[in-house]
Symmetry: C2
Subunit: 329 residues, 2 copies
């Protein structure tokens, strides 16, 4: 079917195409009466303003691209909230790309966003190697959120501080044997392990690390191995909430009470950690604020492409719920 174009509206309304264009962008220089008339004719003809053509004519848009790694993790929902708020305050549209299971496709997602000629990209949870991210940022300004990429604008929460906070909370409760459940090794997410090790070393204790997968079931299996061994720990610090849930699953299965028999701390303060009956002690990295910072940096970057890479670091906070308590005697 032949789509209604601006030309059609112009002809029907008895004005020039340029004027219709102005009317639809409610720009100055169109009398109120004419604007109303034009919009009404447009409505009648079922005209929808074609942003593809508009973008081509303006050589790229002012929109921001947003990359979110995983919709199942509601940390990203929080980050998105922040990004959207700032975008709205500045009248910027958003174009989204979602990461897939396959991390290698993150690069393709970025290229797609660049292909839509967004002004800048805010990427939350990008799994690309630093160097590759840097290459991409040369084409379209890139802001890394919730991760630090050297040479690229980054808004992140200090994982060193968070991990320390979590570990020291457990130590203060009297735990001596705290095991860290680490994520699979990947760029940019090592600081949680380092913070844990620093805190343990500071207390003169020997760190113990278990490397786990991302899947909750597999984490539970790891935990089973750990708690069936001769020297089960009294506390576990997990690199994120999802992993902590895996540990809790195992404790439940074993009939152990979190916070009494074994203490568990997660990381992210995702909504699931506040579930009644779960009440996971965790680290909140204030996703919404992080998102806001990232969007602000992206917008700043569009007006000053050559400024030095900016950095915004924030401190996470400890959220104490019911999965932590003194060790049993």
């Amino acid at each position: 079917m032949p789509r209604t174009t601006m030309e059609d509206v112009a002809r029907e309304a008895g004005v020039s195409r340029a004027l219709v264009s102005l009317a639809y962008r409610n720009a100055f220089g169109v009398s109120e009466a004419t604007r109303r008339h034009i919009l009404e004719v447009g409505e009648r003809l079922g005209y929808v303003h074609n942003r593809v053509a508009a973008q081509l004519a303006t050589r790229g848009s002012s929109a921001l691209g947003v990359f979110l790694q995983d919709l199942h993790n509601d940390l990203f929902a929080g980050l998105y909230d922040g990004i959207r708020e700032v975008a709205e305050e500045h009248g910027r549209e958003l174009v989204l790309a979602i990461g897939s299971r396959d991390e290698d496709r993150d690069a393709a997602s970025l290229t797609t966003l660049q292909g839509t000629r967004v002004a800048a990209i805010v990427a939350a949870g990008l799994r690309l190697p630093d160097a590759e991210a840097l290459t991409h940022s040369a084409r379209t300004p890139l802001v890394a959120v919730a991760r630090r990429i050297p040479g690229v604008d980054s808004a992140y929460s200090d994982n060193l501080v968070g991990a320390r906070l979590a570990t020291e909370h457990l130590l203060a409760l009297g735990h001596r044997d705290v095991v860290f459940f680490a994520n699979p090794p990947a760029d940019g997410y090592r600081d949680r392990g380092r913070g844990y090790e620093a805190a343990m070393a500071g207390a003169g204790l020997r760190p113990r690390t278990v490397v786990t997968s991302y899947a909750r079931e597999e984490v539970a299996a790891e935990a089973a191995r750990l708690f069936d061994a001769v020297d089960p720990p009294t506390a576990v610090f997990a690199h994120n909430d999802q992993a902590a849930l895996g540990v809790l699953d195992l404790l439940h299965a074993r009939g152990l009470t979190p916070g009494a028999d074994v203490s568990v701390v997660g990381y992210d303060n995702s909504s699931i950690s506040s579930a009644p009956g779960t009440a996971l002690t965790t680290i909140d990295l204030h996703g919404r604020d992080l998102g806001r910072a990232g969007a602000r940096m992206a917008i700043a970057r569009t007006s000053d492409p050559d400024a030095a890479p900016a950095l915004e670091v924030s401190d996470p906070t400890l959220v104490v719920r019911r999965t932590t308590g003194p060790p049993p005697r």
Copy 2:
């Protein structure tokens, strides 16, 4: 900065613009050697294929628009998984729009998607009135997912069946006084209440409905009022998991044990309902399958715009966890 265009690549590679175009779309009719050469020159010049211009030239894309109501509700993450799977199988790209708090903006989101000239829109959790949705579907094919809109392609789960399943589960356990926590009245989401009422009537029992808000805290407050009254029920069926969590929050605060003192059933089987310690009995509407069905219908619609509106109804299933049990004596 002047962007690198296809023209630039063509000149540098010593070929025509048209050939570069063919190479970038890896179409037939380009020799392997030339294609490689062109792509390599493009890479060197930092060229990114401009899909905006490409789309204009092809008069609209084959991409599917996707509307998701709320990123914080991981039901939508499941729907999206299904949509994406099918889109990938058919080589379709996706353009996303996310609903905002303000439901009135759903219409604007649809218009934006239409403006990008997607081939069709898959809308999950649209809050628009039926009539308005119908108007939109006249401009760009629309598929409603997880909701039924008369006259519009719809892929949905039968809420009547689900609500019946939930209620009958409670009745089978021996409950006589089951209260329904309804969502705020809105188009298209009434069947859960109807299913509940039907099941109660079938057992010769009087239905009791409490209308609640969407916020978990407010639901908890409603629940407080209910359980502080003279005749607290022995079971609650909530219109969705979020509301069920509100009820569980209140039970926790009152020191009541879900599944023993009071039974609770939710709806959606969102990930939070499986949290250890929460273990909410709920209704699973198989979001991924629903998403798949929606995407399939959208693609079918693009090849046959004038077929009668299609309908795909699936039956939800009951997931029994630990918040339901026989009533206390």
